[in-house]
């Protein structure tokens, strides 16, 4: 039986049609087939969170989604949300608070933080920590990351940064 699957999906607003190997996960598809290198592969078994991207508007572990299963889906990566400017304030805050360090976890952290702020516009520091608990920062720069997210939440609510 053939292991190749034809898919047609939207990636960062552009229509993409491709023939993929059934076992190809979404991050390999994005990086190796489409050349979108902003999404990172880490553990490749759903633990580290470095591969977080959006599918149909919600964050997922890209390594735990088969590209073959995404026919008709809408995928957004850090490249897409950077281009639209949707998370410009989060990106600026990550830079200002030195929340990037090596940068490996950063694209996934940003997409996770964006979903948190969509769902909860006034998260406490504890709620921020809980929501990003599935995204590992091996530089252990969590404090600065929480600071950055907290700053953006405050600014979006029209308050001075804490």
């Amino acid at each position: 039986m053939s292991t190749a699957v034809d898919i047609s999906l939207e990636v960062n607003g552009e229509r993409v049609t491709a023939r993929v190997e059934a076992r190809r996960h979404l991050i390999d598809f994005l990086r190796l087939d489409l050349g979108l290198m902003g999404s990172h592969t880490g553990c490749e078994h759903g633990v580290c969170g470095a591969c977080t991207v959006r599918v149909d508007g919600k964050i997922v572990r890209g390594c735990l989604v088969l590209a073959a299963s995404l026919d008709g889906a809408k995928v957004e990566t850090i490249e897409g949300v950077s281009e639209t400017g949707e998370i410009r304030d989060l990106q600026d805050a990550f830079i200002a608070r030195n929340a990037c360090q090596c940068g490996y976890c950063t694209p996934a952290m940003l997409l996770t933080a964006a979903e948190l702020l969509q769902m909860n516009s006034r998260p406490t520091r504890q709620e921020i920590r809980e929501f990003i608990a599935g995204n590992y920062c091996r530089c252990t720069g969590y404090h600065a990351i929480v600071d950055a997210i907290e700053t953006v939440a405050a600014k979006r609510n029209g308050k001075a940064a804490p």
């Binding site: 039986m1 053939s2 292991t3 699957v5 190997e21 059934a22 076992r23 996960h25 390999d28 490749e44 078994h45 759903g46 969170g49 977080t52 599918v55 919600k58 964050i59 997922v60 572990r61 390594c63 735990l64 989604v65 088969l66 073959a68 299963s69 026919d71 996770t112 979903e115 948190l116 920590r129 809980e130 929501f131 608990a133 599935g134 995204n135």
Partner: protein
């Protein structure tokens, strides 16, 4: 690591799913949310030959009422479960369990049917279903049958599902007046599988626990009903004397295996701590309402 090669087939109806499954050979597996399956494939713990994607089968989706039962379709994601008004109102234990399951990105994709079929002994939803006396609706090519959750989990990652049977839905009776439930777990990091956990349910009247149902997870090869502890607790209020008897009974209910988290004795200790906290929640909630 990369998964081994396999073929991929997508079913768009239940009938098509069974047709593809029957034709795909004995090693074929169903793919729903994939949050456990794709990780095990990455480790090459199984080589299914063919994956049959059932994530778009409409018969397996949705949450609704079926008489006085809430029917939760197998494809309901953890996120959908936590956001459902029907679940919050009629089966609050499930809504309470959702934030304990893995992480947001996994909850957006993982399904209740997948969690039950995978039957990880440390998972939250299997224990909740046992505590809620849920019916697992199993579906084969010839139709549905219902399996009581307590009989569904038969061992480590093992269920009562037969060959070419899948989970179509879970049916749970709506919470009755006076009934309380809660779920607690201890994990080293938020979102990890629990070292130990408890799903507890009881009717609370004048501080006494009527028909308590105590189900532990992460302490055995499947969700463990603490039958002797339940008997020792039934009809009693939570006093030091009651708890001594209940904890002694609990020790005979559990025989936890050692695992990467710790020794059997440590698990027994965690189970006692969780039980005390769960009973405190069930009863103090009543006091708050009375106040």
């Amino acid at each position: 690591m990369k998964a081994p090669p396999f073929a991929y087939l997508r079913a768009t109806s239940l009938e098509e799913a069974f047709k593809l499954w029957t034709g795909a050979g004995p090693e074929a597996k169903l793919l729903a949310g994939g949050q456990s399956l794709l990780a095990t494939l990455a480790f090459r713990l199984s080589e299914p030959g063919t994956l049959i994607d059932i994530s778009r089968v409409p018969e397996l989706a949705g949450i609704g009422m079926a008489g006085d039962m809430v029917r939760v379709g197998a494809l309901t994601t953890h996120t959908e479960l936590g956001a459902s008004d029907l679940i919050r109102q009629h089966v609050p234990l499930l809504a309470e369990a959702v934030p304990l399951i893995a992480h947001p990105a996994i909850r957006n994709r993982g399904t209740i049917g997948g969690s039950l079929a995978f039957a990880d002994p440390a998972a939250e939803l299997p224990a909740c279903c046992v505590a809620l006396e849920a019916q697992i609706v199993a579906c084969g090519p010839k139709g549905e049958r219902r399996i009581a959750a307590a009989q569904f989990f038969t061992g480590l990652y093992a269920t009562a599902l037969k060959d070419k049977e899948l989970i179509a839905a879970v049916e749970i009776a709506v919470t009755r007046p006076g009934e309380r439930s809660t779920i607690l777990e201890l994990a080293r990091r938020s979102g990890d599988y629990a070292m130990a956990g408890i799903a507890a349910r009881a009717k609370v009247a004048a501080g006494r626990l009527v028909d308590p149902n105590l189900v532990f997870f992460g302490v055995g090869d499947r969700p463990v009903s603490a039958l002797r502890a339940m008997e020792a607790l039934a009809g009693k209020s939570v006093t030091a004397g009651t708890m001594a008897a209940v904890n002694a009974a609990l020790d005979t209910d559990l025989s936890p295996p050692a695992d990467q988290h710790g020794s059997p004795e440590m698990k027994r200790h965690l189970a006692r701590v969780l039980l005390a906290r769960a009973l405190d929640r069930l009863t103090s909630e009543e006091e708050k309402r009375a106040a």
